[in-house]
């Protein structure tokens, strides 16, 4: 190699001087307050917990939960055989310090296996390199998005602080634990051991080009097993993924948007299109003393934007503007033959929920936050839209997996009737009759996401966890999905509580 070639090659190293991604990470994350009061956050929470037992769901988990058989109340359906996996933040504290935001804690998998009418449980932290290093050190080593350490280890890539804490899906022989800013964390189904980060397309012609690129925690899996997803780059560039059921890439494309919200949590598919819905939020990156989440503001002047993207070639075919709003989650979308698109959103009129999920880490309740409501949206071919607000509080909306992207008759979600700390009931919305069924657990329960599962014949189930505050125990509930008002068919009780988590999925045995 002659000297000219050498120098040409070395010019590639300018990337080490300033990478686009690193620059953006720096912009969005280094503005975070130099945080020396994580100890105070821990103390505030401990004090509040002494007076507010419902904060139990946000307490730190010290160690894995050993496998054990649960106590069944009622009769667990024998045909419901398989594993129900849930994921959520559980490691909130180390060394007397506590994270500032609920989204920052290291993820823990909860596995409920069921067979012959019996239910077993085990819980295991996802042993990412970050988790393992901090566990060994007995303290936080890395700054998080909102929680800054004075002497943080360097963060060279998002996966250095990947907490894998949001969702869990089965892909081929593995479980993928998902966190929206980084790569899927691979988890062994048998041992629940962490086995590295998936390099999407890594064994294909894509090589390392997708290594470390964000893969959101809300992939949509079609009935044929194909996996669709997106990943947001803080520049507003969005990666669109189409993977086979085995996780291999079928196609990938990056689209450029003007989105400056920095956070994009969920999306939707129909049989023909993807719906990327950009909420009315903007990251105020000029403020030097704010964290990643606390730098995001709601803007009433900013319409929610819906990008309709063709599944065949990922081209943007249409854009819609909706009134200002914000949503973490959507249940489902479908479209009519004439191209009219329908979807539901657990829609917030502001962003107070994001602040509340920080406040709760200091021991405040969530009463100050505005609830989301189940809103049905129709996008007409002529570019107009119509919206129907059911006026029913709604979060964690789910549909039967078989109808993902197709017309759904029912929508299930949790909602908040009287609770001040989390949801307290499950709800079933019939889209044809536009009527609701609810089951209110009672004020003493903190109700988590429930997922609908098709059984044999006409029997359908709704499966999910709830934390009973007075007894400090978590139960797994199974309902007849078409008769929620009857209450749970059965409950499987743990002898203790597990932390409030986010999302889960059922894998039939």
């Amino acid at each position: 190699m002659d000297r000219r070639q050498v120098l040409k090659s070395l010019s590639a190293m300018t990337v080490l001087g300033m990478t686009p991604e690193a620059n953006l990470l720096a912009k969005s994350l280094s503005n975070t307050t130099k945080y020396s009061d994580l100890t105070q956050v821990q103390q505030n929470f401990a004090s509040a917990l002494a007076n507010e037992p419902a904060l139990l769901g946000f307490t730190d988990v010290k160690s894995d939960f050993k496998p054990q058989e649960l106590t069944i109340e009622g009769r667990w359906p024998k045909e419901l055989t398989g594993a129900f996996y849930r994921n959520g933040p559980a490691k909130h504290e180390r060394g007397g310090q506590r994270y500032k935001h609920l989204f920052e804690g290291d993820g823990m998998l909860q596995e409920f296996t069921m067979a012959d009418g019996k239910v077993r449980h085990r819980g295991r932290f996802i042993q990412t390199p970050k988790f393992t290093q901090e566990h060994q050190a007995g303290k936080f080593l890395y700054s998080g998005p909102d929680s800054r350490l004075e002497n943080s280890l360097g963060v060279a890539s998002p996966n250095d602080i990947n907490v894998a804490n949001t969702n869990i899906i089965p892909v081929s022989e593995k479980l993928w634990a998902l966190w929206e800013a980084g790569s899927p964390a691979l988890v062994n189904k048998k041992s629940l051991d962490f086995e590295g980060y998936e390099v999407i397309g890594g064994t294909q012609s894509y090589g390392q080009s997708l290594k470390g690129v964000p893969f959101s925690a809300h992939p949509k899996i079609e009935a044929n097993g194909d996996i669709w997803n997106f990943g947001l780059n803080p520049t507003g560039h969005i990666v669109l993924y189409h993977l086979g059921a085995n996780g291999k890439v079928k196609k990938v494309k990056v689209i450029a948007t003007q989105y400056q919200g920095a956070m994009l949590h969920d999306f939707l598919i129909t049989d023909k299109n993807l719906l990327i819905i950009l909420p009315s939020i903007k990251s105020k990156r000029s403020h030097k003393n704010d964290g990643f989440f606390s730098s995001i503001e709601f803007s009433k002047q900013l319409p929610m934007q819906v990008l309709l993207i063709n599944k065949e070639d990922f081209s943007i075919t249409k854009q819609y503007e909706l009134p200002a709003g914000f949503a973490f989650h959507y249940g489902n979308a479908w479209e009519d033959k004439d191209g009219t698109v329908h979807f539901d959103a657990s829609l917030y009129p502001d962003l107070s929920v994001l602040t509340a999920l920080s406040d709760v880490m200091q021991g405040h309740d969530l009463q100050g936050a505005t609830d989301a409501q189940n809103v049905l949206v129709t996008l007409h071919k002529n570019g107009s839209h119509s919206m129907l607000n059911t006026m029913v509080n709604s979060e964690f909306p789910r549909v039967f997996s078989q109808v993902t992207g197709l017309k759904n008759q029912t929508l299930f979600h949790v909602s908040n009737e009287t609770g001040k700390m989390w949801s307290d009931r499950v709800s079933r919305f019939d889209l044809s009759s536009q009527s609701y069924q609810h089951y209110h657990f009672g004020d003493e329960y903190l109700v988590e996401e429930h997922i609908p599962i098709k059984g044999t014949g006409k029997q359908n189930y709704l499966l999910g966890t709830a934390l009973n505050v007075p007894t400090k125990r978590t139960c797994l509930n199974v309902f007849n999905a078409d008769a929620l008002t009857d209450g749970p068919m059965a409950r499987a009780w743990l002898p203790y509580h597990i932390p409030l988590g986010f999302h889960g999925n059922f894998v039939k045995g």
Binding site: M1, R3, R4, Q5, V6, L7, K8, S9, L10, S11, A12, M13, T14, V15, L16, G17, M18, T19, P20, E21, A22, N23, L25, A26, L29, S30, S143, S152, L153, G154, V155, A156, S157, G207, Q208, S209, L210, K211, G212, V213, N233, H237, V239, V254
Partner: protein
């Protein structure tokens, strides 16, 4: 600017060679640890001063075959003062640093002082080191970031 960079580096390399046997030459021994394979090559650049680093104007450069474990890269310099080093491990031996679609390196890389990026690239302040007047040899150690 590219041509100027080339000339400057070429000049520096020639000068380095000319002076390598001179008594006033100082050696910088750059120890790279944690090389994960024998594949490909290590591309290493030496900069003098903040301006040189900021402008990407290396005063010397070296390419060596990668060997799993540790490598020692020797530079001879004439002047005392502040220096900085950056490098990458060209694992697939195609002569360039591979990045993902958003520009993040996907091959090993690193800096002098074993500096690590933190929500952004390592700064000059993190990677600079001093070659004192009168010093015969300066050793700087680092770890590859994969």
């Amino acid at each position: 600017m590219k041509k100027r960079t080339f000339n400057l580096v070429a000049l520096a390399m020639v000068m380095g060679n000319l002076h390598s046997f001179a008594s006033e030459a100082k050696d910088i021994e750059f120890q790279i640890q944690g090389i994960n394979s024998n594949k490909g090559k290590l591309y290493v650049q030496l900069f003098k001063g903040q301006e040189g680093y900021k402008n990407g104007q290396a005063v010397n450069a070296s390419i060596v075959n990668a060997q799993k474990g540790e490598a020692k890269i020797m530079f001879s310099v004439i002047e005392a003062g502040e220096y900085a080093i950056r490098f990458f491990h060209d694992e697939n031996d195609n002569g360039k640093l591979e990045t993902n679609m958003f520009g993040m390196p996907t091959e090993g890389y690193g800096y002098s002082n074993s500096a690590k990026p933190n929500f952004g690239p390592a700064t000059y302040q993190q990677i600079k080191f001093n070659v004192p007047t009168g010093a015969q040899k300066v050793v700087n150690k680092t770890q590859v970031i994969y």
